[in-house]
């Protein structure tokens, strides 16, 4: 029992760091909050994705046969940590992390051939058609209908909170193909829908801070080839469930929060306070230390999960707390960033104005408050933390 990295892992870590330094140089690094929401890809980002492809590291989590790596969980952990620390561009999770597992598990050979390479090359953007108006955390209440006619389904309905639908080429989508089932989870099918299909309209939903990342999508008599059905008709819920668990892993965001804490300390070390610096203030420092300790615990909890998976077993009960604690910690860090900024948390970050006239107050202030607001979604979307606790109560405590 020890925390040391084995020789092989140390070598791998060195290799990863070298790769990052070469293809994502410090010059390219910076605040990621803003970039996350921009459609266009900066040259530096494009270079990174090309380098990943050339190296064969675009989709590490996939099975090797589909272009993934054969990394051990520890190697994956090292990769996730190092890339998060360097703030490298992240592949859109919808294709690479969420749909791909469904494709290589339940997809037809032809579906795999068409879609997996495109996702791997980050050439095609996907979005997730799950939530619907009136069905938030209660996924199974979905209403969107798909009716067979010839070699197509005709899909009618509406999806909402659809991240990235406004620059997505495809959407993977849950639709109701049978309305006369006993349980609501039955009669649901899993379709791949081309966003260029006639009858699809995307309307932006502005998130606090005028951020455009999610949308509502309306589908009116959209024709979807039967060939775009995943697995069997009416079995979509099974595939989606598997997909949701994939959504959980790595959700603790430990490395990202560690980076944020480091930035917070730097920021506080440059923030004047009564002739000294904010970082020297006992109560502020105390709050940062408290979050860091909680984060240390969460990191070990994640490593324990990793270990039990590596030992061939399934993740233990401790894994269920990763999302709840991870989001709580990230939100507390965001609050501390606002506290550190004082009055300079207040200016509205007009990107154009900033590009022309420079930031108002410290550069760290740009988008900080909007980042905090946006971070509130982490405990709501993807199964609210209240839903998470219901699940733990039932699955782990047997209540």
């Amino acid at each position: 029992m020890d925390l040391k990295l084995r020789a092989g892992d140390l070598a791998f870590q060195a290799e990863v760091r070298a790769f990052i330094d070469q293809h994502w140089p410090a010059a390219a690094r910076g605040d990621t909050t803003v970039r996350e929401f921009s459609a266009v890809r900066a040259p530096a980002e494009q270079h990174w994705f090309d380098a990943l492809a050339a190296q064969g590291w675009s989709v590490p989590s996939w099975p090797a046969e589909f272009g993934g790596t054969d990394w051990t969980p520890t190697q994956h952990y090292i990769w996730d940590r190092e890339t998060a620390r360097a703030g490298t561009p992240q592949m859109s999770p919808f294709g690479a992390r969420m749909l791909a597992p469904v494709l290589y598990t339940w997809g037809t050979p032809q579906q795999r051939e068409v879609h997996l390479p495109a996702i791997r090359a980050a050439a095609v953007q996907w979005c997730q058609g799950y939530s619907e108006p009136g069905a938030g955390s209660d996924l199974a209440a979905l209403q969107t209908r798909a009716v067979r006619s010839g070699d197509h389904y005709i899909v009618n309905g509406a999806k909402t909170w659809t991240s990235g639908a406004h620059h997505a080429d495809w959407m993977f989508c849950l639709v109701r193909t049978d309305t006369r089932t006993a349980k609501r989870q039955q009669g649901i099918s899993f379709l791949l829908i081309d966003m260029k299909s006639p009858g699809i309209e995307v309307h932006p939903i502005l998130i606090l801070g005028d951020i455009h990342s999610v949308n509502s999508v309306s589908l009116t008599d959209v024709k979807v080839p039967l060939a775009n059905l995943i697995g069997e008709e009416n079995q979509g819920w099974t595939y989606a469930k598997g997909l949701l668990t994939h959504e959980r892993t790595g959700i603790a965001g430990v490395a990202r929060s560690q980076t944020q804490i480091a930035q917070l300390r730097e920021q506080a070390a440059r923030t004047p306070l009564n002739g000294a610096w904010l970082i020297d203030d006992a109560s502020f420092k105390r709050h940062v230390d408290e979050v860091e300790i909680d984060l240390m615990a969460l990191e070990i909890t994640e490593l324990r999960t990793l270990a039990s998976v590596e030992a061939g077993g399934a993740p233990g009960p401790e894994s269920s707390i990763l999302k709840i604690r991870g989001t709580e910690i990230a939100q507390r860090i965001a609050d501390l960033q606002i506290e550190a900024l004082g009055y300079y948390a207040m200016p509205y970050p007009d990107q154009q104005l900033i590009d022309n006239e420079g930031p108002i107050g410290p550069a760290s202030a740009i988008g900080a408050l909007h980042g905090m607001l946006y971070g509130r979604a982490a405990s709501i979307f993807g199964g609210s933390n209240e839903i998470q606790k219901n699940i733990i109560s039932k699955a782990v405590l047997g209540l």
């Binding site: 938030g136 999610v214 009564n274 606002i338 200016p347 108002i360």
Partner: protein, 376 residues
């Protein structure tokens, strides 16, 4: 001991409440946000006509003869509607300092038009290095001839873009954080050497970075006594802190009640989410935070009304601590319980959260006021 309002106070409360209910829907408010000045000139004139802009001032100064209690009543209602008009900047801060230490000539020239709504003020007190310390000033006022020359950079001056009159705190003597040697100056917003960088704030107010380069002012521009500005600033800021605290109480009331209503109607898993015990208790916590904040609001206003004593300062800091904690909790949970909808610009709930977050920062956050409370 008396928690009831006088008849005048009751009438004032009712008229403000009625006005915001009728004229200040969220939709109407969002229209104003998009206008160039960022507030309703028509509203401002009505406020003046109804005498609200004179509420805290003595009759002899052309005011309504009210005080902190009346300011509290107005601001609580303003908070419920997220009112954008610069009542705190122009009336409570600038008006308040003029009323406190202004010479007759200064009152006639500036306070009268403020009450009339024809002139707006902004208070330039904060500086980039100063955080919440009102005495941490690098802006200087150097004697020159019969007047002074001002140089410095004032940070996040609320209502800066709309103000005709700036009150600037500057150092006429003493070291950077000394509480003595601070003097207040009445500066024409368009005076030579005054430049501004205007911007909206995250919560849709308007503010400016104000740069003073060799701005010459006459001796008559001194507000109050030379070198004795600190006490005047503290008193004005404490009244303004109580005012935005009352605004926060109004915000919290709407936020928690809207959440309760939403949870009664929003159905999930086959029942209104308000039937889930965890959410019920969460809303009870929101309700309790609101009530505790409201109690503190009464205390702070009443202490200030008794006179500006250390006990009053302590009550204001305690109120601000309470409002900072409660406002954050109520705002965050209102968004959480509204689910995705709470995250949208379209719904009002997120805007209450934004405002509550900014109020925590304004005039010093929880940590600052906890330390001040402990030191008093």
């Amino acid at each position: 001991m008396d928690f009831s309002f006088s008849d005048e106070q009751g009438l004032l409360k009712d008229s403000v409440e009625r006005y915001v209910q009728q004229e200040y829907s969220f939709a109407a408010r969002q229209k104003l946000v998009k206008t160039e000045r960022g507030f309703g000139e028509k509203n401002w004139h009505t406020f003046a006509e109804l005498g609200w802009l004179g509420v805290p001032f003595a009759e002899k100064d052309g005011g309504f003869g009210g005080g902190p209690i009346e300011t509290m009543l107005i601001m609580e209602q303003f908070g419920r509607a997220l009112v954008l008009e610069p009542f705190v900047s122009s009336v409570v801060l600038v008006g308040g300092m003029l009323a406190a230490v202004g010479k007759t000539a200064q009152k006639e020239k500036y306070l009268a038009p403020i009450i009339a709504g024809t002139l707006q003020g902004a208070f330039a007190y904060a500086e980039p290095q100063g955080r919440f310390n009102l005495a941490d000033l690098t802006t200087t006022a150097t004697k020159s001839g019969t007047g002074y020359v001002l140089n410095g950079h004032k940070a996040v001056v609320l209502n800066g873009p709309n103000a005709n009159l700036l009150v600037v705190s500057a150092r006429t003597s003493g070291a950077q954080r000394k509480t003595t040697g601070i003097t207040l100056f009445l500066v024409d917003a368009n005076a030579p050497g005054v430049t501004r960088r205007d911007y909206p704030t995250v919560d849709a107010l308007r503010a400016s970075e104000v740069y003073l380069e060799n701005v010459s002012v006459e001796k008559s521009a001194v507000l109050g006594r030379v070198g004795k500005g600190y006490d005047v600033i503290q008193q004005a800021v404490d009244h303004a802190t109580m005012a935005i605290g009352a605004e926060a109480v109004g915000c919290m009331e709407v936020a928690y009640k809207a959440t309760v209503e939403y949870c009664k109607t929003r159905e999930q898993f086959g029942q209104p989410i308000g039937k889930f015990q965890v959410l019920q208790h969460r809303m009870v916590d929101m309700f309790m935070e609101y009530e505790q904040s409201k109690s503190m609001m009464f205390m702070a206003a009443m202490r200030l009304a008794e006179g500006y004593t250390p006990q009053a300062q302590k009550a204001v800091s305690a109120f601000k601590v309470q409002v900072g904690k409660s406002g954050r909790f109520v705002g965050q949970q209102a968004v959480q319980l509204h689910g995705g909808m709470g995250m949208t610009e379209e719904l009002s709930i997120g805007h209450y959260f934004k405002r509550l977050t900014m109020i925590d920062t304004m005039f010093g956050n929880v940590d600052f006021h906890l330390k001040r409370f402990g030191a008093l």
